[in-house]
Structures are given as structure tokens and as C-alpha cells.
Symmetry: C2
Subunit: 354 residues, 2 copies
């Protein structure tokens, strides 16, 4: 029955982009969710609250929102004292690659300490199950011959503090698992390029400042907030000359986490999973799909390549399929349509809805 | 004049092995030293106090001992408030490779946070100059063809949490320097195998528990505390079949730090230095030198190789010679004689002198 499988899941950073979409899936599946989030990306955070207010999808008792920073160990311990936590999902930390280069201390401080505090509280409260949100950026610039990337390919040659911190936490988790393999049940998810939004259009991603990623930029051009799409390089050695990435629908990512809840019982120590579709799509593929979704042509200009951009990166997600029974099923079309719906409903991001 | 060059140097971990020998050199050169050390390796710590009491080498006003943990940010800030710090030497953190594998959280917590707190206080108090104690372990198991190791050879393939934390802090420092190259003046010292003791025999290294390193083991056999020396492998592809390491006298290491004080003014961003002799010496070389120093034969038995041991590792220290004007001058003979003097004067380590 549902109740036997019902878990209490502490979701650190549960009001962020991937976190909030995951929380929706966890609640829909009947789990109890304790979100710990300091609302530092408040636009995204509030969305979660709005979503549940508007939809009435959940019973208030199933969702607890603790507006604290995971770096506050004392408060975090109180959360563990107050709720009988079974599982920790760690989406905490800052996530802007560019910002991380400008303000490295912020990243080394918050993106490592938050997770360490969670682990400390877990050990103290005899919680064993943690899923850590990592990133394909830990692979650095992979050898193009070695694609698709597998979980045991080499990592650590990261180029920005954001990616280095992800790598460091992976090392810490791996060392913990080595030290106490019978205690810890750790999953690391390396996301490739999560895009799209919840199909309701009520929650999505509203990046602050100048977004670096293709899809938010496409949406900004389509809504008139950005005059033109800059395409960085059209002479890569790829099928159509533009860079190839592994875009994956954020709701597929959320589903992977739902599968993970049941999978902890089969883990001993640590397991790492690539979370992507396994299919590389080009910039032009995405532009075309987005034009179809929004019904407008997207003006673009071709610029110079950006330093550090690789021609292609996409993963082998077969381990996740084999062990979690998970496969990303949503198409490029769905990613674009769902993202566009979010932008149509929230033309000024979350600012307007407040 | 001396006074114009006199600096106030905060030495974190200044009561440890390399720290205490460096403090002696700094004081002898007329600098003011603020040691911040929580005395967690109290045997070594107290030695420093004894040394100065016995020798009367310094005026009490030149040495301040703050028995606090650098991980206590509030207290550390008070130290920066109280003394006009010019330079920070960071020897803080735990240093047992074996322990780090058993208790990784301790290392990830203390060996990263202490340095981050120092950097935070420095930024707040407009201190720019920091020297960080790293280790040759960041090079992992180097390609034997690539010896001697240079500073820009690849790092990060470390095998234990101790080494990984050194690597992480190096990354953090490098990212800080990238973010604010006009602010920071950072030196990273990668020590090879520091051995020996102060020529007075009053301070040295008194490793707790079972020492992993060759020289303390040799001394234990010579004093009768250990029945026999275990030699791990005699069939390496080296000149005499035993492993080759780059042993460097701890007082040479201390001198490198003294040179560094003057060199900060020439640094912009970050510079990394190998601290070794550049000469590989074999286990048998060291056994012979130690037998000569202590005047006794050292019984030994040959055991299996230890996993992870490389045949040879030694550095190219020419960058330090070129830029710091530093070269390790003390011989294997001096390393062994000075270490032996320390053991003769302190047959039970520091325990007896307390």
C-alpha cells in the first residue's frame, strides 16, 4: 500500500528549479516533504507555494516549508529533531557558473558546507539515505571520442568553482561511503541539461539576470525581452555545425528522483547516475523546436565560439534505466511547449505573480 | 633595516611540525608571530613553548600564542582585530593520511573550513598575503616518465581525503586569485618529504600512534620502541630496488617560508612552489644514513609493497630557487643526525618533558 512506502523526505533547496519540480512529484506520490530553503532565489521559491495554493493539490500536512539556510547547523539539527526524516534530497547551493567565477568563496562556502551539515545531522539522527544533485560539469570538457559519457569516465577537470564544488562533494560522499559502506546509502545524480517546466505552466525556471542557457534565452527572444538570439559558433564538427547537448525535461528529472526513493534499499555505499536522455540535440534542433512551440520565428545572429564550449556532450543513461527503471521520455517538443506555457502564463517571471 | 622589513605573521597551526620550525626562523629573523593553534597535537605544540622558555631566544612580545581553533570564525576575527596582521601562514588542519580515510568528514570539515575562515578574515581586514601549506600528495601517483615533477604537472588524482582537501584548497585559492588577481598575493608550497628536526634537538616531530613515515620508524627502531624496520618492497624498478623519495630537512622548509615573507610583494594572484631537494633518495640510502647517525645497525625485514606506493617521486624545485632564492642545502646526513639528536634528548617524545 501507499502508506507502507510513504517516506518523509527532507528536500534541501526544494524551492529551486529542479527541487520544486521534484517536490511536486514526491507530494503527488504521497510522500511527506520537508523543504529546507532560505528562499535566496525567491522568485523560484515562491512559485512552489503558489503552485500548491493555486492547485490545492496537496494537504497542508504533507508539505513543510522551513525557510532556513542549510549552512545553519543548529537550525538544521532542529529540523531533524522535529521531523522523522527518512531520506535527504540535497539540491542546496548556488548554481550560476558565471557568478561562481566572480565570487568563488560563496561557492566553496555554501555549496560544500550545506551538504556537510546535512551529512552531519544525518549521522547524528541515524539517517542513511541521501541523494546529491551533481552536474555533468564534473566531466569538464570530455574527450569527443569517448561520447556518450559513462559514470565511470574521468571527472574533476572542471573549469569553474561551481563545477569544482560539485566534484568535491562527490569526493566527500565517495570517501564517506568508503569509510562506512554499511552505513551510508548514497546516490549522486549528474544532471545533463534540464530544461522545460511543469506541464501546468505554474512552476518553471525564472533565471535572474542574464541567463547563460539556450532555452531561457530562446524564451526571452520570443517574449520580446531580448532582441536576438546569439548563437556561439556554427562551424563545430557536428552534424549541423552547432553544439550538441543532452537536454532533458525537468519533469523527467523529477521522476528520476521519485524512482530513487524506492531504490535506496538496494544501495550499499554510493552509486552515481547520469541523468539525461542519451540523445545529443543541436542548437538548431532546439531553435526549430522552440519556433514551433511558440509559433514565432526566432531571429538569431552567429557569434564567435565561447571559450570552454565543447562541440558535443551527451550521456549514456543506461545505468539509471537498468538500476532505477528510469528513462527520460519527454521530447524536445514537450520541453519547448512546457517552457513556453510557463512564459506565457508568467511573462515577467515570478515578479508579476507576487 | 630590520624594522622596516619586520612583519606581523599569523601562523595557523604554528605549533605543529613544520609550523613550529618555521616560527623559530621567523622569530630569529625579527618578525612578530601570532600562533593560532588549538593544541590538538599537544605534544608537538608544547615543544614550541618549551623551546622558547629554554632558549630564551625571544622576547615574549614577539610571540603570541592563541590557543583557538581556526574553525572558530568569531574568535579568529578577534585575533585579526587585536593584531595588525601583515601575512598569514596556514599550516592548519589534520595531517594523518590513514586517519583521513577512516574519518573523511573530519578532514573535509577542518582542513577546508579553517583556511576559508582565514581567507574571510583576511578579506575583511584587508590582508592580502597568504602562504598555504600543500603537499606533494596532490600529484597523486605521477607518471614515472615525467619525473622530476614540476608545479604545472597535473594534480588532483589524489587517493586519500587528506590529499583531496589539499587539492581542494589549492583550487579555492586559485579561483580566488582569478576572481581578484589585484587583491590576493597567494603562495602555495607543495612539500615533498620533510624530515629531521631543529639542530638544537629541542623541537622535532613526535608522531602520535603508529607513524607511517620512514624516518620516525627508523628512530623508533634505534631507540628500541620498535623491534624491526618493515621495508615495503625491494623489487621496484629503481636504482637499488627500494622506493625513491624527495626527503627535505624541515629547517630547509622553514627557511623557504622565511624567504617567502619578502617575496609576497612580487606576487600577483597565486604562485605555487615545489619544496624539495630535487634529489630522489632510496629507502636504503636513508637506512644507511640513519645507521651512521645513530651508530647502530637497523634490523629490517622486507615486506610486500603497500598499495598506492609509487616507485619514485621527486620534484623539480628550480622555480623556488629562481623566484624565492631558496635551495634545500642540508644533506641526508644532517637530516638523520638532527632527527637522532631530538630522539636522544626526548626518548619518550614530548611526554617526558611535560
Amino acid at each position: 500500500t501507499m502508506n507502507a512506502c510513504r517516506k518523509t523526505i527532507l528536500v534541501a533547496g526544494g524551492a529551486g528549479y529542479i527541487g520544486s519540480h521534484t517536490v511536486v512529484e514526491l507530494l503527488n506520490a504521497g510522500h511527506r516533504v520537508v523543504v529546507v530553503d532560505n528562499l535566496s532565489n525567491s522568485q523560484e521559491n515562491l512559485s512552489l507555494v503558489f503552485f500548491f495554493n493555486l492547485e490545492g493539490a496537496i494537504n497542508g500536512r504533507n508539505l513543510i516549508l522551513v525557510t532556513k539556510n542549510v549552512c545553519d547547523l543548529e537550525r538544521l539539527n532542529l529540523v531533524f529533531d522535529s521531523y522523522n526524516i527518512d531520506v535527504v534530497f540535497d539540491f542546496s547551493g548556488r548554481k550560476a557558473v558565471g557568478e561562481s567565477t566572480l565570487l568563488p568563496m560563496l561557492y566553496y562556502k555554501y555549496n560544500i558546507n550545506g551538504t556537510m551539515n546535512l551529512l552531519k545531522c544525518m549521522r547524528q539522527h541515524e539517517v542513511r539515505d541521501i541523494l546529491f544533485s551533481s552536474s555533468c560539469t564534473v566531466y569538464g570538457a570530455p574527450d569527443q571520442e569517448a561520447l556518450p559519457i559513462k559514470e565511470d569516465d574521468s571527472v574533476g577537470c572542471c573549469q569553474c568553482p561551481y563545477a569544482k564544488c560539485k566534484y568535491f562533494v562527490e569526493c566527500l560522499l565517495s570517501d564517506l561511503a568508503t569509510g562506512e559502506p554499511d552505513y551510508w546509502r548514497i546516490m549522486v545524480m549528474r544532471y545533463f541539461n534540464p530544461v522545460g517546466a511543469h506541464e501546468s505552466g505554474l512552476i518553471g525556471e525564472d533565471p535572474k539576470g542574464d541567463p547563460l542557457n539556450l532555452l531561457p534565452k530562446l524564451a526571452q527572444v520570443a517574449t520580446g525581452k531580448r532582441p536576438i538570439l546569439d548563437v556561439y559558433g556554427e562551424d563545430y564538427s557536428t552534424v549541423d555545425g552547432s553544439p550538441i547537448r543532452d537536454y532533458v525535461h525537468v519533469m523527467d528529472v523529477a521522476t528520476a528522483h521519485l524512482r530513487a526513493v524506492k531504490h535506496f534499499q538496494d544501495i550499499s555505499g554510493i552509486e552515481i547516475y547520469n541523468i539525461g536522455t542519451g540523445e545529443g540535440k543541436s542548437t538548431w534542433d532546439m531553435v526549430k523546436a522552440f519556433e514551433a512551440a511558440c509559433g514565432k520565428p526566432i531571429p538569431f545572429r552567429v557569434c564567435q565560439r565561447r571559450p570552454g564550449d565543447v562541440p558535443a556532450i551527451y550521456c549514456d543513461p543506461s545505468k539509471a534505466e537498468r538500476e532505477l527503471g528510469w528513462k527520460a521520455g519527454r521530447s524536445l517538443k514537450q520541453m519547448c511547449e512546457d517552457l513556453w506555457r510557463f512564459y506565457v502564463l508568467n511573462p515577467n517571471g515570478y515578479d508579476e505573480s507576487i
